[in-house]
Symmetry: C2
């Protein structure tokens, strides 16, 4: 297998470090618009199978040419969600497979943004499913940790643990702190703003997908492994649009343990308008230029991938499922915890970034071995969950299950 | 009198509208780095005595040349505090007088920023007082409303109302609201961030100048004219460094009625680092450029000068003085209130901007008539207060006094 990895940020760099320990692929081209960043991710892998390239992820034709030049079988997208569509199109044009960890962006309903969905996450990708199927090529979408592993858990619960499912609720929380920072998001702030300030989406069987106000329906969820109770709120996330396509459930939700302080700061960014992606004219050293305020916020905040040395604690991603098995009520939480101390000492990557990165590397190994195969635009829940969960354990990163 | 007005923003434009109704000057050149803005301020005056020019306020030599070319007697600085020093220097080099409404910037103490002063507001200007005096030229510094009118009030209290003064406390508050905005500062946000997030300065006779944490010593002050009680906190402001130079008082403070919501938003801007003036590299339509985060915040927020039509309420600036007169304790609040509805209908300028702008126009008239004269670097409290206060009434904008 020959892979083109696009995006050598925190997740991309962790991907090279994780993949370097696996034998299943022959070559990985690491491409970024910032060539030194790509070179540094290649250096982190310390493996001759990796080479660096410069690419503008927004330039579909250039990406197609790069895939063709390096005879890549698959494009692994580790950029932010703005680049999903050009990369997705580039892979199809090159006749390559495609894998991403976040899906094409949503657009709120024009009149009733906090009640009805507009364009949903991934809609623009699923609209082209027939083309991918016709070409016999696979776009495996939403294959990080959330979405990704969380969806594999949902499929596992539906296959092996439940006869009928009332609710599938992805619940994400942790107890990470960062020394010396008032505010230091542990994941890409551009994406965090996008998902937290968009109207959260909820699925109900009788109602379909609908939206609410941001940060709605707070609940305290008790996370395992010493993390403990964290207040979680509804956030727009891919799992809610992916799970119902393959798994019958009465209700699907995603809640994120953001904490009051983080929510307040996001609300302030929004009230001030500095979360906006609409460029404004501002004075720069090159003269008056147009800058998207959110890009500046991302540039000001510390790079979450660089904070591992100052971080303490654990992050937990998981899928809570409520339903019935053998006529009796059942409730489980399937989860995956990464301790920052472990991921730093073992891989030099901080916990949240590492947890996202390990999953596409596992998924690619299943595709390389043929244990997972398919064509069209498919989510992680379209595949057999057991081989995935077993391989994740083999990677040294076990998952857990709590009956509750 | 021939005047060079530098800065055709909200205050600069209000200055042209107010000055156009007065006879005392022969010509006013309105200069801005954005020529259309200067032209629009000139158009607002609708008076042949005004002409527009393009100038970079940071380019001292170009400003000197402009002063010389137009044979200006005085430079009126209506830019933000970053440009105080180059404009101050330019006027001295041209042999012109100088007037500003905010003084040269402070620099926090390197080790104990919230206890000791570092470089104080205006220090860099006062350091050159001997040069101004030797040339027989006047730099009248801090001559807006606060600093400015507030300092005139302090001098009036010291001359006519008190035998000894325990505390002079500038108190600023209002009840302005802006329709349709969650957060719309009523004054230049760049300056507001600067003054609110810098360590507030306090003067005490026995201790000299010292600093505290931002937003310290909250107190509820009851503002006149129907505004009512507003919580005020310590903020760094020029009056605290100006007043003690000319007026004997045990203590001098400045408190601003910011409101909890505004304080929270400023604290968040600071926690995120987007209040910073240190440029960061960010993607723009001209390529990667360096942008000062605070410039972007200012670019995103609505221009306070454009909000007059959506504003309601009044703003109050004033000086509270506590001491003794004829052996008895006395406490007064000398104040100036502007109702936005009045300033909009009368001048088309919103209240806060108009209140700042009227004061330098009054001061220039006293300089033109010779009622105020002097050489060196002088604050408003260095001059006779009564002619000023009378002329302000003649401008249709009375002040008030409350015994309390």
């Amino acid at each position: 297998m020959r892979i083109l990895l696009v995006g050598a940020g925190g997740v991309g760099t962790a991907i090279t470090r994780i993949a370097a320990r696996r034998e299943y692929f022959d070559h990985m081209v690491v491409a970024d618009y910032d060539l030194p960043r790509a070179k540094s991710a290649v250096a982190a892998a310390a493996d001759p199978r990796f080479t660096a390239a410069r690419i503008d992820a927004a330039d579909s034709a250039a990406v197609t040419a790069l895939l063709t030049e390096h005879e890549c079988d698959i494009l692994l997208n580790a950029t932010d969600p703005r680049f999903v569509l050009p990369l997705f199109d580039a892979a199809l044009a090159a006749g390559a497979d495609y894998l991403d960890m976040a899906m094409s962006m949503s657009k709120p309903h024009p009149d009733r943004p906090y009640e009805e969905v507009g364009v949903k996450l991934g809609d623009d990708q699923f609209a082209r499913a027939a083309e991918w199927a016709a070409k016999g090529r696979l776009a495996l979408v939403g294959m990080g940790v959330e979405p990704g592993l969380a969806d594999v858990f949902a499929r596992y619960a539906a296959d092996d643990l439940f006869d009928e499912i009332e609710e599938i609720g992805i619940r994400d929380g942790g107890n990470l702190t960062v020394d010396g920072y008032d505010f230091a998001p542990s994941f890409n702030i551009w994406t965090t703003i996008e998902e937290c300030l968009n109207p959260p989406v909820i699925y109900e069987k009788d109602r379909g997908w609908y939206t609410t106000e941001p940060f709605s329906e707070p609940e305290v969820f008790d996370f395992p492994d010493g993390i403990g109770p964290v207040e979680c709120v509804n956030v727009e996330h891919e799992e809610v649009v992916l799970v119902p396509r393959w798994i019958p459930a009465q209700r699907v939700t995603f809640k994120y343990g953001l904490g009051d302080d983080f929510i307040d700061k996001l609300k302030t960014l929004h009230a001030l308008g500095v979360d906006s992606t609409e460029p404004v004219a501002v004075r720069t050293d090159l003269g008056t230029a147009r800058v998207a305020p959110r890009d500046l916020v991302a540039a000001v905040l510390p790079d979450p991938a660089e904070l591992g040395d100052r971080m303490h604690g654990k992050t937990c991603a998981g899928t809570w499922v409520k339903g019935r098995k053998d006529g009796k009520p059942r409730e489980v939480y399937l989860y995956h915890v990464v301790d920052n101390q472990w991921s730093m000492s073992e891989y030099g990557s901080q916990a949240v970034v590492w947890q996202t990165a390990v999953n596409p590397v596992v998924a690619l190994e299943l595709l390389a071995s043929g244990k997972w195969q398919g064509a069209g635009v498919l989510g992680p829940e379209a595949f057999e969950p057991r081989p995935y969960l077993d391989l994740l354990v083999e990677y040294g990163s076990p998952w857990g299950m709590r009956e509750q």
